[in-house]
């Protein structure tokens, strides 16, 4: 019942997030004598802090308690928490454990390897799973078992390289996507975007990123547009005192859920003061990419 309420009401609405945490906290206290219910509450608390607030510290805290009561935590998410807390070694260890228990082809796993700095390992994992199917289809498990294609592999590799600042390699992967035959790059679900469209947009943006030097951008507010998922997406970047002060979406045609999912991307450009290490959210890639591309465009156009 509570899970339903969380999924249906709390998760979609940012104004309800805080309320949701309070609710689960209350349940945790209420059920402190019931072991099963208590375990579930602890797990849910960890999940909510992780997903709704990006609060890795508290998520790790509650998941620890959950593990102490015998719960089995998601190694990937725990690894992410430990990495954010500063402990790359523990994160890497957790990922190695995940390697053996998960299918090696999990996209999130690959991305996380790249995130903690092991970009080459991530690329190697992608490469070793490519080209085993004659029709260009291969299977990288995305948490549900959907297959992926050659183009999706290349796009993933390019994304990882771009996030790591290895722009030339990223560009090379995008060009590989554009060289594939059209049938390989068509999207596999009803709402998806064609791989070539994604590659083209990101290719141009990566070229711009190569040129970008933040020190050469004067203070002020700059806007640029790219194509998002549902239509044009306009970003306004404000530079103050040589630093990126804010990245705001001023106009968009996205559906609300994608916007909410991709919101961390905009936030991270500010916290990381640049584009390295900025997450592209799985499930909202087009929107996230659009935010990054538009911000890059705005800044490069403003460069002196």
């Amino acid at each position: 019942m509570v899970d339903q309420y969380l999924i249906q009401v709390v998760y979609p609405n940012p104004s309800r997030h805080k309320e949701g945490i309070k609710l689960v906290n209350h349940l945790m206290i209420l059920h402190k004598d019931d072991k099963e219910k208590l375990k579930r509450s602890l797990n849910t608390l960890g999940q909510m802090f992780y997903e709704l607030f990006d609060d890795y510290t508290r998520a790790a805290f509650w998941w620890q308690k959950y593990a102490q009561m015998g719960g089995s935590t998601d190694s990937l998410k725990m690894a992410r928490c430990y990495f954010e807390l500063g402990s790359k070694a523990v994160a890497a260890e957790l990922l190695l454990q995940a390697d053996s228990s998960y299918s090696r082809n999990n996209k999130d796993l690959i991305k996380l390897w790249a995130k903690i700095g092991e970009v080459d390992k991530a690329l190697e994992m992608i490469e070793s799973n490519s080209g085993t199917n004659s029709s260009g289809m291969d299977r990288i498990d995305f948490r549900g078992g959907r297959g992926s294609s050659q183009s999706e592999n290349y796009l993933l590799a390019a994304e990882i390289c771009r996030g790591a600042g290895r722009y030339d390699e990223a560009i090379a992967y995008y060009e590989k996507v554009l060289a594939l035959p059209d049938s390989y790059t068509r999207s596999m679900n009803r709402h998806g975007t064609d791989g070539k469209v994604k590659a083209q947009a990101n290719l141009e943006a990566t070229r711009l990123l190569k040129k970008l030097d933040l020190k050469r951008v004067p203070d002020g507010s700059y806007t640029a547009s790219t194509t998002g998922y549902g239509g044009p997406l306009t970003i306004r970047v404000v530079i103050n005192g040589g630093n990126i002060e804010s990245v705001k979406i001023t106009q968009h045609w996205e559906t609300f859920s994608y916007l909410v999912m991709a919101e961390p991307t905009a936030r991270q450009i500010v916290t990381k003061q640049g584009f390295e290490g900025v997450d592209v959210i799985t499930g909202a890639t087009v929107t996230s990419d659009a935010i990054i591309n538009a911000a890059a465009k705005a800044l490069v156009n403003a460069m002196e």
Binding site: I7, Q8, V9, Y11, P12, N13, S15, R16, K18, I21, K22, L23, N25, H26, I29, L30, R58, R143, G144, G145, H191, T255, F256, S257, Y258, M261, T282, G283
Partner: protein, 574 residues
């Protein structure tokens, strides 16, 4: 000997020739024509310019601030007095009515001859069209001469019962409505686009017809309406009974009769003296008199006054008996009409029209709204439209919110500012944003995401952009993967209205209608509708709406789960 013409005389000659070209009355009474022209232009500017163009920027704190658009409306004394009687309240236009009537003690019926834009418009009609068509002229006075007093009495009696009919026939409301239904759509259509012009209903056609009929009466006689029908004029006449100035005829009068046939207000008797109730001191008779025997002086100035002839013909319909009969029948009709309206009103109040924000309760609203149409003009999105007969005869021409067409903008509070009678209260912006017009209700049987047929977030976006945040999502039809985790973009985000935050502005309905009904033709009606009724709207005569909203929110908060958990929460969550 050469006759030197001084430069002063030369310029005066030039002025005279210019005025002569304009017309005989410009030459004889230039000040009157200047005053009339000024007032008409002022009226037109206030009506057309100040409400245009509408600049709306969600980031600005101020919408268009109209100037005193209701200036002419409050100058009409009948508006103020009848509303005060009907609503049994001290409306602020009562003060302006008093001032206008007070001036009549010095300058009788000054409004009619020098200021009233309706009168000026009638003059223009007469000058351009009326004087060329002689077929329908009536020369003699007929049974209609006292109609304006009967109308006035009728209106006041009916107002005593709480029914406000003055707007139907009082001078300025008729004018503003006529302008509104004929010219405002033209203005919007030509300058903005014809798709922005709302559809017409019966009430509007009736109003246009009334306006044209009044103008058309000029074919019977110049200023027929002003002289015989206008009840505002009747009120001004009554106030002029004790006027300090008046028209006087000296005994040099040659009895030629030119003044009699020329007087626009039919204020000259057959023996060439003045009907003081009717005379407006327009001085049209002054220059026509070949003997210059007409003077406008104080009422005690009897020097050289022409004596009244003995054989003054009394017109048969001017007897006291007829007048009494007329008054009694008016009173009777008035009582009958008022009773009928009052009985019918109770029933029709249940039809719950959605009124502008800050409207007083419905029954009082119908007594206080003078149906002038000013609020309809200043509404920037044309959300407010006049009701037809849908809410009863009593509701005709009253403003209603048609959210299918547009939504009430959050940075505008124009309607309350221009209402001359206070039927729509003047509210500051923050109060207006808390005043509920109604409540939005989503029909889960037709709303696209609720039926899981298509993604749609229009109403949510509009509400969030406006700053109300009264719509949030519920995630329905979620699919789960093999690990029991919900799949991120499965299912549909369906909108839900938060009852404590929604004020019924209708922005949601407008966007759903514009896209899903008109553009994409997926639905027949908007899936979210603003409905009025008890518990859904705030209609108070006095008091603060923000206070009411806070109380509502607090009541809801109190019903939520309380517990000792707060001390466990981190600071940012408390």
């Amino acid at each position: 000997m050469r006759f030197e013409v001084s430069s002063k005389e030369k310029s005066r000659e030039k002025l005279r020739s210019v005025l002569e070209k304009l017309g005989p009355t410009w030459l004889s009474t230039p000040w009157r024509r200047f005053a009339q022209a000024f007032c008409l232009i002022l009226f037109l500017v206030l009506f057309f310019y100040f409400c245009w163009p509408y600049r709306f920027d969600y980031n600005s704190e101020n919408a268009v601030q109209p100037a005193q658009l209701e200036l002419f409306l409050v100058l009409d004394p009948l508006v103020g007095i009848s509303t005060a009687l009907a609503a049994k309240a001290l409306v602020w236009s009562l003060a302006t009515a008093a001032i206008v009537l007070l001036i009549c003690t010095v300058f009788p019926r000054w409004f009619c001859g020098y200021v009233c834009p309706m009168g000026t418009l009638i003059d223009l009609f007469d000058w351009s069209i009326g004087r060329r068509i002689k077929r329908f002229r009536v020369i003699k006075r007929g049974w209609w001469v006292n109609l304006r007093f009967y109308l006035l009495t009728g209106i006041l009696i009916v107002a005593l019962f709480g029914v406000l009919l003055s707007g139907f026939v009082a001078a300025i409301p008729v004018l503003t409505r006529g302008m509104l239904y004929v010219f405002a759509p033209l203005q919007v259509g030509l300058l903005r686009g014809w798709e922005y012009v709302p559809k017409f209903n019966t009430g509007q056609y009736v109003s246009i017809l009334l306006f044209l009929v009044i103008l058309g009466l000029g074919l019977l006689r110049r200023r027929f309406w002003c002289a015989y029908l206008c009840p505002s004029g009747a009120l001004l006449s009554l106030a002029s009974v004790f006027s300090l100035t008046g028209r006087k005829v000296e005994d040099t009068c040659a009895e030629c009769g030119r003044c009699l046939s020329d007087c626009p207000f039919d204020a000259i008797t057959t023996d060439f003296s003045t009907r003081s109730l009717d005379c407006t001191l327009c001085r049209s008779c002054k220059d026509i008199c070949p003997k210059q025997s007409i003077k406008f002086v104080s009422r005690w100035n009897d020097a050289n006054k022409r004596s009244s002839g003995e054989g003054v013909v009394m017109q048969p319909f001017y007897t006291r008996r007829n007048f009494l009969f007329g008054m009694l029948s008016t009173a009777g009709t008035g009582v009958g009409v008022a009773t009928g309206f009052t009985l019918e009103r109770e029933g029709y109040a249940k039809s719950y029209p959605v009124r502008p924000p800050g409207s007083v309760p419905e029954v009082i609203f119908r007594s206080q709204c003078v149906r002038c149409g000013q609020c309809l003009k200043v509404c920037p999105g044309n959300v407010l439209q006049p009701a037809g007969l849908k809410f009863g005869i009593d509701g005709i021409w009253t403003p209603t919110v048609t959210a299918d067409f547009s939504g009430c903008k959050p940075f505008c509070n124009n309607c309350g500012q221009v209402c001359p009678t206070g039927a729509i209260r003047k509210l500051p912006l923050d109060e207006k944003r808390a005043a509920r017009l109604g409540l939005a209700e989503i029909d889960v049987k037709t709303c696209l995401p609720h039926c899981q047929s298509d993604k749609c977030g229009l109403c949510f976006e509009e509400c969030a952009a406006a700053g109300y945040n009264a719509i949030e999502y519920i995630h329905i039809g979620v699919e789960y993967d093999n690990w029991g985790m919900p799949i991120a973009d499965s299912g549909f985000l369906a909108p839900v209205v938060l009852k404590d935050k929604c004020i019924g502005c209708g922005l949601c309905q407008a966007s759903c209608y514009a896209v899903n009904v008109r553009d994409k033709m997926l639905l027949d009606e908007s899936a979210v509708k603003v409905l009025a009724g008890p518990g859904k709207e705030d209609r108070i005569v006095a008091g603060s709406y923000t206070v009411m909203q806070n109380e509502r929110t607090n009541r809801i908060k109190q019903n939520q789960i309380k517990g000792p958990e707060n001390e466990y929460l981190p600071d940012f969550l408390r």
